[in-house]
């Protein structure tokens, strides 16, 4: 039992100079047990890494706007076409090249197809390709870069030289070759896009793992008896997840852009399926007579690019506060 006592304030003021030994007993009063202060107590509520990051992310207005735009766009792309009386391939030749109106919000193309519905369908394809390509790139990049960085030495040398060789050949060359070989479909676009774009992620992961693997907690994990793979995937990768997510976030717009670019060149998505790239491509002949046909899909691409880049910037600041200017 610890006796805690507190000195009463004396009548002549608290700053009395008498030595502690001379204090009479009646100056002390016993403290209530409930009054006991616990100095070891942590008062701040426990926050995980993600809660902290979310709190920082929420304070970035541009990133929040970006996030809202993407959410609205994704919801519209998934559910929007259900509520429309038009379909992406329903033609109405009598009603071709109709300018925007209450009937057709974005107007119609030369076959009389509703551009609003086609743009929403395009969002499905484009967002799907963007996020799936980014996810595949993340997985490949983490595994490749993680192994290269953790095991180091000859393994690292070999894996990184392979990457150097791959990066030396222009991306477009592979992509066009793969598209020629596999034909035009979403799968072949995904394969083509994932062939080389994981290299950036792999390099980021590798550099993170190289710096983290000499940390004492990695050594502590080894002392416990953790296997190499366990140390890598349970300790090192989670600790480098911030930079990885930031890199991957920027991969989403680049994949969407690549797809639009391929479709624009005519080696992407097959008609009548619409993606933003094919919509823009289709609108070229009528650019001067019906500019709205290009305007809306092009706007969709730009807004999505802006939104994703703002999210990426916001995530970078939120996940890695040291990088903040």
């Amino acid at each position: 039992m610890i006796h805690t006592a507190r000195m009463k304030e004396r009548e002549d003021g608290p700053f009395s100079t008498s030595a502690a030994g001379d204090l009479p007993d009646d100056l002390f009063e016993k403290l209530d047990e409930s009054d006991r202060q616990d100095n070891e107590e942590i008062t701040r509520p426990s926050k995980s890494y993600w809660q902290d990051a979310w709190a920082r992310f929420r304070k970035d207005p541009l990133a929040m706007i970006g996030l809202c735009v993407i959410i609205v766009m994704a919801v519209a792309a998934i559910f929007g076409p259900i509520f429309s009386e038009y379909t992406y391939d329903g033609q109405n030749l009598e009603n071709g090249n109709h300018p925007p109106s209450a009937e057709h919000w974005f107007g119609t193309d030369k076959f009389g197809r509703d551009i609003f519905v086609r743009t929403l369908y395009g969002a499905r394809i484009s967002l799907l390709i963007g996020f799936v390509a980014a996810a595949i790139n993340m997985v490949i990049g983490i595994i490749y870069g993680g192994i290269s960085g953790y095991f180091g030495g000859r393994v690292d040398m070999l894996l990184m030289r392979i990457v150097d060789i791959m990066i030396g050949v222009p991306d477009l060359l592979y992509i066009i070759l793969v598209m020629m070989f596999l034909g035009n479909s979403i799968q072949s676009i995904l394969i083509a896009l994932c062939l080389t774009s994981w290299i950036g992620t792999a390099r980021i992961v590798r550099s993170q793992v190289v710096t983290l693997k000499h940390q004492e907690y990695a050594l502590a994990a080894r002392a416990i008896g953790s296997s190499n793979l366990r140390i890598l995937f349970k300790h090192l990768i989670p600790n480098s997840i911030g930079p990885i997510i930031v890199t991957v976030t920027f991969l989403v717009p680049s994949a969407i852009f690549s797809e639009a670019f391929l479709s624009f060149l005519g080696i992407g998505i097959q008609v009548p399926i619409a993606s933003w790239g094919t919509l823009v491509n289709d609108a070229i002949p009528t650019l001067f007579t019906q500019p709205y046909q290009m305007l809306f899909p092009a706007l969709a691409i730009s807004i999505t690019m802006f939104a994703l880049n703002f999210i990426g910037d916001g995530l970078r600041d939120a996940l890695d506060p040291r990088l903040k200017k």
Partner: protein, 327 residues
Amino acid sequence: MTQTTENLIEVKHLKKYFDVKKGLFSRSDRQLKAVDDISFSIKKGETLGLVGESGCGKTTAGRTLLRLYEPTSGQILFQGAPLENLKHSELLPYRKKMQMIFQDPYASLDPRMTVGEIIGDPLDVHRICKGKDRSDRIRELVELVGLKRDHINRYPHEFSGGQRQRIGIARALAVEPEFIVCDEPISALDVSIQAQVVNMLEDLQERFGLTYLFISHDLSMVRHISHKVGVMYLGSLVEIADAHELYTNMQHPYTKALLSAVPIPDPDLAEKSKRIHLQGDVPSPLDPPPGCAFQTRCAYAVAACREAKPALKDVGNGHQVACHIVS
């Protein structure tokens, strides 16, 4: 103190050399002799203190002993079983018996894991317990090292240095080890906290019959906690003896200089004591002097010191000294 004759840990001629690459165009790769032929043994339930200045190879010796670094040569025996050539899978049962407490309580805990996950990690690796048993065990460990139950779901960055070190100790104790390497467990802590942690380590030793290798440069603390003390200089063990014997009857000139540097709290006594000031710096372990490593700074060096490296020899009572001039 119960004296048993069983050696829990035995180290014979342990060497750890690091390769140092000079550069792309230079062919002469050199070796850094971090630990150069050391031998010692620790009896069950006892503590061996290992002292020496920064960079003398204390930490490397501790880590090589646990096979965190691959030994260049030499033998490591745990209860008579050699560990130096075991593969990862064969070593796993021994990882359960030998643990480590790290120097830096900030770097040695994974910042992305909660206290419960950190302490539970060894339980998962060795598949000791699951589900409710696991959470009970974690709670028990947390309370054993003087933390509170509601600390389990917090992250390491929310704790002070002393509390973090307790988390590290709980992690080491999770697998119920017999032997723990304490690698300067208190040097990163505030003086007022050091005593708490050392007392706790002593209590745990008594309670679980633990054996410690206590690495430190705090000579008074080592004297307090150790049964036997070894003094290292430039990768070699220069003197090893029972704690009392070493502190009262030191033989090696380096040990004398080292112990004379211990601050004495009483200013009157401090004035009377003679401090031995060593000349020069510790030579680079990349380029150690020939013969005795200490000869460049030793006031008593003779010709023999420059020619041959002295071996540890017994001067009575298990007191071993590596010096040509001591007989």
